[in-house]
Subunit: 339 residues, 2 copies
Amino acid sequence: MVNRKNIKDVARAAGVSISTVSRVLNDSKGVREELKQKVLDAVQILGYHSNTIARALKGMPTKTFGLLIPSIENPFFPSMVRGVQDEAHRNGYSVFLCNTDGSGIIEEAQFRLLLDKKVDGIILVASKYTTKYLKKENNELPIVMMDRYVRSPNYSYVTVDHSVGVRLAMDHLRTLGHKRIAFLGSKLISSGARERFQAYKRYMIDLRSKLDESLVVLGDYTYESGIKMTEELLRRDVKFDSILCGNDLIAFGVIEVLKQKGIAVPDSISVVGYDDIAFSSYYTPKLTTVHQPTYDVGQLSAKMLIDMISGVDRRVKHIKIEPSLAIRETTLRVGSDSH
Amino acid sequence: MVNRKNIKDVARAAGVSISTVSRVLNDSKGVREELKQKVLDAVQILGYHSNTIARALKGMPTKTFGLLIPSIENPFFPSMVRGVQDEAHRNGYSVFLCNTDGSGIIEEAQFRLLLDKKVDGIILVASKYTTKYLKKENNELPIVMMDRYVRSPNYSYVTVDHSVGVRLAMDHLRTLGHKRIAFLGSKLISSGARERFQAYKRYMIDLRSKLDESLVVLGDYTYESGIKMTEELLRRDVKFDSILCGNDLIAFGVIEVLKQKGIAVPDSISVVGYDDIAFSSYYTPKLTTVHQPTYDVGQLSAKMLIDMISGVDRRVKHIKIEPSLAIRETTLRVGSDSH
DNA sequence: ATTATTCTTGAAAACGTTTGCAAGGAAGGT
DNA sequence: ACCTTCCTTGCAAACGTTTTCAAGAATAAT
């Protein structure tokens, strides 16, 4: 392995021309079986690996794609990223991971950097900035939006059906006798946040013909924001018997504040999270939450992208996966007392 | 942006040869100021980006490196990865992230794949397999070991000084009056696991001249293992007043089991974690734990690698960062009663 | 047997750069 | 004025592939 062999070395060893070697390494068509075997043997013996860079220069695929997410530190993403990578590696792809921190400038810069690196495609978690730079490129580069997307007939996406997720959570709470269900979620800056709030709103309107705005607080998808929103809700002095949270981190903030105020969860107030990050089942009490199949979302996104790249299936597709409900320890029937 | 410009287009627009363009884009030395400006203008106007692939083919750096970790789903790694990426992007590098799942076969395969992709360097979390394939390569490729390492004068690493971490935790427990401190950690398959156990052992021997083996259980760095190890410890029917855990996930398992058995934390038993993953301060009760500066470890690793790549500093270096202790709610003075 | 067709093969031209080399011009020394 | 030396520039060869094209061999068709 001291100095890498090139196609010329193989050609010499096999006693053929480099064109022949190249042919057996690619299409393999139109090469006599005998020569083909000789080449394969030579490759074997010399431990030859074709040079990705040189192939890329000739316009061949780089077997590489980009993955643009807000932040790997957001516990919602690791398993999704893992899903992408597993599918990628299974198909011989390497993936560039980039964090955008929700900044349009960074997102666009990273996007262009990926273009420069000649990736075969890009998977991205769309933001409100995405369309801006995306339509500047009228290129053929395969793109898949993952989780968060923008409505467009031009781009494929795979995401989760939040109307189902919210309905599962609400039905669960209703079944337990809850009537005044508060919603503590994210401001409506992403497709997911919008859909969750819309689904909640629709559900409440169906229930009592109008939405009680005093039951709603909007902030960020963070623990700290969960704390602030709960304090705000408490300050309003409005009656509620349960809380649906926009994600699990918010739920942890909620439970922390309720605990501090001496309000028992789930005995006095039931809490439902959203996402089902790994941590939710380690938490005490174990969090009842809407389980998002994040690994599957990642894996499917990668599969879809690879299909587009390899030309197996170039059509734009919109996939929504159904979430499920993980009923654990933070929800309880109204009026029951676990003591 | 419909069709990318190449260096030839720039040369034509600026009225110079491509060599001149190349020169101003690289060293910039030995080009008349006037021409240099013309070229720069042309680059500006045409929106030219030099083709990374073609440069790489000439042996120029790809501005790309690999990052090999056990799994991004392990909550210990996201912030470390983030540290690496932030430093990388600040210097114009893109990073390939790969998961090895602790498998030597996958690790080596990924390593070779990165080599094929012509990365400028590799950061890896070493395993017992690492040396095997690493010494097969007598190449010049810059390599930095991150967090887990193997002893070798040939390879740089940056890691955390666990003897300090364990001492901080033990001193804290001793100060609170704890005498019988159990250790629930990982089997000794990584440098970190070995060092933590060794430090605990040394501390206990210093204290009472010998190690009470019945206070030690070894398993994996997981929640589930934490549960099993606690059950095992309880089964032994040995007296203990506190538990030092090999990482935070184990600590969560420990606390869960103790809670189920009606043993109050921290009132009856104090628990100290290790790592200080984000979740530990969201947990109830908030976990007292050894804080590992994981972001810094990542950032420093990347900085070190980039220095090696750019030739700024090629010496092999061994850096150990000191951890700190985050005292929160799972440790209490012996005999005190919070009720 | 002769011609038309198909299969195999290799030579050579790309892909977009960097860089050694040589040439031309300007500047400096005598 | 002439000879060095230095600075600036362009030509052309590489880097390791893929692929078009043409040619030669082998096969099929008449």
